[in-house]
């Protein structure tokens, strides 16, 4: 058995294709890693600027009701391995007590030249996806067909070796050969990553990279086995090679593009969006009514929410709505810098109005969220999930999904940030409750002391722990492994029965 492996290994290592494989891989990975690290650094600078600006913006707010906060999503340093959705989805979202933030309300900060996006970007997973799979097929196409043509297969089989052993030896040696360029390029990429000053990798990150490498190995083995299968069923190496190339072109270039292009969005989605939105609108009409009711019944005559006070400053009363993403909320607040002295007796009324209004707004936002959440899942997430499942028919799709899950740039990883933003909204609201801010004068007026933001906890987003990454990557990794086993069994059966 070992002799077999050694023979195959030496056979493979001395070939031109091996040298070419190593060279091309190293060149591509190094060039792209340098570009990707630069891109990451730029995004990090954008992120840091945004955080600083948003922090300053909050400090500048003199009243609590004017205080809104933007939280920013830091770029993922491991996005160099698989960019996933990291650059594509919004990276800042507003945290406001009267609204539950989601991915669909996010905005994008940074990006100095959006036109540059017309050039597609390449990550390391893409290089492995395209080049390594091609190399695996090139290594595999003649393993069986070639030996059969040369007649050496007959020679080997005259010895008392089992056919299974021959297959296994061929598989092992080719995999070892393919792993050489893989390991060399990954280690070069990691070296480049660690030398960059702006990137600091934690132990978890290294474990994630190990997971990425593991997935790559399993993926490679799938393509090697596909090549071997083709080699086992064809008589001539020429045909095997041709067939391999078409199979490669189909899985890598054509299938992912074609399957997504051929799914058209459903029409029922529009109806669902409209009905949910009207439901939300009704909810807020109720809110308006309650507000009117309050103004009618309070001690001050009239229904004027401004209470007729004389003041200088700014106020806002804006309705934000977007039917497409089911967004609907009010922004109401005041920032009084100077108050007319005659209005002073009215202030308690204004304060108690806000004391009534704000908890109601929070409650409304939470109730809207209960309606909005399942609708968003149904309208946006569900079709996206179906797309991803369809992509997983191809080994490329499985590999992509698994590596994204490892590095945390998949949809779930991005949505973690928005969950953190929602949790932070709770912190924000609790901060108000702790200070009893709604009833305070600083809620609307800064003339006698400004709002104090110092005790507000900072927002920080930690990427999910390695355990969660493993959990998310596990199904796709399993799929890849199962594909491996199935392919190997099929090859084995064919090879056992084939005539030499």
């Amino acid at each position: 058995m070992l002799t077999l492996i050694r023979r195959e290994l030496l056979d493979n290592l001395m070939t031109f294709r091996f040298a070419a494989a190593v060279f091309i891989m190293l060149l591509l990975v190094v060039a792209n890693t340098v570009v990707l690290i630069k891109d990451y650094e730029r995004r990090l600078v954008d992120y840091n600027t945004a955080v600083k600006t948003h922090h300053q913006q909050l400090q500048d707010k003199k009243t609590y009701s004017a205080g809104r906060l933007h939280v920013d999503r830091p770029p993922n340093p491991l996005s160099i391995f698989n960019i996933g959705m990291d650059k594509q989805l919004g990276n800042q979202v507003e945290v406001y007590f009267g609204f539950v933030p989601t991915l669909w309300d996010a905005k994008m900060h940074g990006s100095d030249n959006p036109i540059m996006n017309i050039f597609s970007s390449i990550d390391i997973a893409f290089i492995f996806k395209v080049v390594l799979s091609l190399l695996a097929l090139i290594f595999a196409y003649d393993t069986l067909a070639g030996e059969r043509e040369q007649g050496t297969l007959r020679l080997v089989l005259t010895h008392p070796v089992r056919r299974g052993h021959i297959l296994f030896a061929k598989y092992m040696s080719a995999m070892v050969c393919l792993l050489v360029p893989l390991f060399m390029s990954v280690s070069l990429a990691v070296i480049l990553l660690t030398t960059s000053t702006s990137i600091s990798l934690s132990t978890d990150d290294f474990l994630r990279i190990v997971g990425f490498i593991l997935t790559t190995i399993v993926y490679l083995s799938v393509f090697y086995l596909i090549g071997m299968l083709i080699s086992a069923v064809t008589r001539r190496t020429g045909t095997a090679l041709m067939l391999s190339m078409f199979v490669w072109g189909f899985w890598v270039l054509i299938y992912p593009n074609m399957v997504l292009a051929s799914i058209l969005p459903q029409r029922t989605v529009e109806a669902r969006t409209a009905s949910t939105f009207s439901q939300i609108e009704q909810l807020w009409e109720e809110f308006e009514k309650e507000q009117e009711q309050y103004l009618k019944n309070d001690a001050v005559p009239g229904e004027n929410p401004g209470f007729g006070i004389g003041w200088v400053g700014s106020s806002m009363n804006r309705l934000n709505k977007d039917a497409a993403t089911l967004q609907y909320y009010y922004k109401k607040g005041m920032d009084i810098s100077e108050l007319d002295e005659r209005s002073e007796p009215l202030m308690p009324h204004v304060q108690s109005y806000y004391q009534f209004l704000v908890p109601l707004t929070i409650d409304m936002a939470d109730r809207t969220w209960l309606i909005r959440k399942p609708a968003l899942e149904k309208i946006f997430v569900h079709p996206a999930r179906i797309d991803r499942i369809l992509l997983k028919v191809s080994p490329i799709g499985m590999y992509d999904a698994a590596t994204q899950a490892w590095v945390g740039t998949d949809l779930l990883g991005i949505r973690d940030f928005f969950r953190a933003a929602r949790q932070y909204r709770r912190v924000f609201i609790n901060f108000f409750y702790d200070k009893n801010a709604f009833a305070a004068r600083q809620w609307i007026a800064a003339d006698k002391g400004a709002a104090d933001w110092r005790t507000l906890p900072q927002f920080s987003f930690q990427r999910s722990g390695i355990g969660i990454n493993v959990k998310r990557a596990f199904p796709d990794l399993c799929l890849l492994l199962i594909t491996n086993v199935v392919l190997f069994v099929v090859i084995f059966l064919i090879f056992i029965k084939s005539e030499v």
Partner: protein
């Protein structure tokens, strides 16, 4: 020569690769047609709706010449190309509108004046579907057709040598270049048969649909695109012949060809573009806002300084008008500068990617399909021309009003008579075929040059080949 070409053709027609290539190309082209027919009517609808909205805006503003001049002609929209199925050209990343804004001045009841403004694209941030490249003709030709071309020629010479038929053929009194040209022609015809079939099916589906009308101009463009595709394919055929003649075994030949293909087709365009993009750093958005803020503040400082002293009323109006116009011009200049820097960066990156034939052909497809970056530049130019026309129209109409004191920029100095909305110049985004030719000529020449180089390389290699 024809004899050899015919023989090659017959050889190929019966092969597995021919069948596979036909199936692949047909499937892709039909997908392309289906997606296009689904999306294009929506785009047109959206465009028409926006145009109408802009027109209504002009009609309401036309109640007074001053309001029209101050608030401007509304948003100017890019017309979606009918041939978008040929090349998508990164359209989703390019803005489809040029806007105009005016600043509300903070004091003195003075309103800012209309100026051109270039909004950046707002990428669709709610799109959580996995991103894949679009299946347009440029993709099908650039990636799939080139791969097929390589698979048709990698064993053209080396395979014959392996089988020994090359010796047989060269024993006949045929010059070697004839053999080579014959082989190239044979391969070209056998590649173009499935391709032409797929293209015809695609166009059949698209032209029979009632929602899309292809004019004579569009058919001409499609013809040009088809020929560029054949030129591009023959480039790879020549490359295949070259490598095949140099290498003794066809397997090695394919390995080399595939590695070249992967490097130049898949990686060079995006990697080089990213590297080239890193060389220049255009004005950032923050910087733009800062500079605009500074200019604005400076302008107002001058304004306040002027009015610190007492001035006559007639001169006051004159100064206010000049102030408003100068402010708008300044802001527009900064916007233009910002845009010019961005464009320069993209242009440089695009120029660098010309190393790869796929990028050249991509540029050609884009310019003939009327999509992509060059088209965007044309659109911007159209918008600027329109802005000039609009300003001229305002000045002309104003000078036609005897009651006006002809000080453009403020209400007191201008005509306030209603304007006939039909007389206001309308923006129409036009595509210009002759301009496309000029832009594309260099790319076309480059492609031809590459083909000639590769073909002569193949000839030299084949002449020296030992049988």
């Amino acid at each position: 020569m024809w004899h050899i070409a015919k023989r090659e053709l017959y050889d190929n027609l019966n092969s597995l690769r021919f069948a596979l290539a036909t199936v692949l190309l047909l499937g892709l082209m039909l997908t392309n047609a289906a997606v296009y027919l689904h999306e294009h009517p929506k785009r047109i609808q959206k465009y028409n709706a926006s145009i109408n909205e802009a027109l209504t805006g002009v009609t309401t503003r036309a109640e007074s010449l001053y309001t029209l001049a101050q608030e401007g002609p509304g948003l100017l929209y890019k017309k979606p190309s009918t041939l978008r199925f040929c090349a998508e050209g990164g359209e989703p990343f390019l803005p489809n509108v040029v806007g105009g804004t005016f600043l509300w001045s903070s004091s003195g009841g003075l309103k800012g004046f209309w100026r051109l403004n270039y909004p950046s694209t707002s990428p669709n941030l709610t799109d959580i579907r996995p991103n894949v490249t679009k299946v347009d003709w440029a993709f099908i030709i650039g990636y799939v057709l080139s791969l097929i071309a390589i698979l048709f020629t990698f064993d053209a010479v080396s395979g014959e040598r392996e089988r020994g038929t090359l010796r047989l053929m060269l024993a006949n009194p045929i010059p070697r270049h004839t053999v080579l040209i014959g082989k190239l022609l044979g391969a070209l015809i056998s590649v173009s048969i499935p391709f032409a079939l797929a293209v015809l099916m695609n166009l059949l589906v698209i032209s029979t649909s009632s929602t899309v009308q292809l004019g004579a101009d569009a058919w001409g463009r499609l013809g040009i695109i088809f020929f560029i595709a054949l030129l591009y394919a023959s480039l790879f055929l020549a490359l295949g012949l070259l490598v095949s003649a140099r290498v003794s075994r066809s397997a090695v030949s394919l390995v080399i060809l595939l590695l070249i293909w992967v490097t130049f087709v898949v990686f060079v365009p995006s990697t080089l573009a990213s590297i080239a993009g890193g060389f220049s750093s255009p004005m950032s958005t923050d910087e733009l806002w800062q500079r605009r803020g500074e200019l604005y503040a400076k302008r107002w400082e001058r304004y306040d300084a002027y009015f610190a002293e007492r001035v006559e009323r007639s001169k006051e109006i004159q100064f206010k008008g000049e102030h408003v116009i100068a402010e708008a011009e300044e802001q527009e200049r900064v916007n233009e500068e910002h845009l010019a820097q961005q464009i320069a960066q993209v242009k440089f990156a695009r120029g660098t990617t010309r190393v790869s034939p796929i990028a050249i052909s991509q540029h050609l497809f884009e310019s003939f399909a009327g999509t992509g970056f060059e088209r965007h530049l044309q659109f911007l130019e159209n918008a600027r021309t329109h802005a000039r026309q609009f300003r001229k129209f305002i000045a002309d109409t104003d000078s036609g009003d005897p009651e006006s004191s002809h000080i453009i920029g403020i209400r007191e100095g201008m005509s306030e008579k209603p304007v006939n909305p039909a007389a206001v110049p309308k923006f129409e985004d036009m595509l210009n075929l002759s301009r496309d030719f000029n832009a594309a000529l260099m790319d076309l020449l480059l492609l031809v040059l590459l083909f000639v180089v590769l073909l002569s390389g193949a000839y030299l290699a084949f002449v020296r080949v030992e049988v």
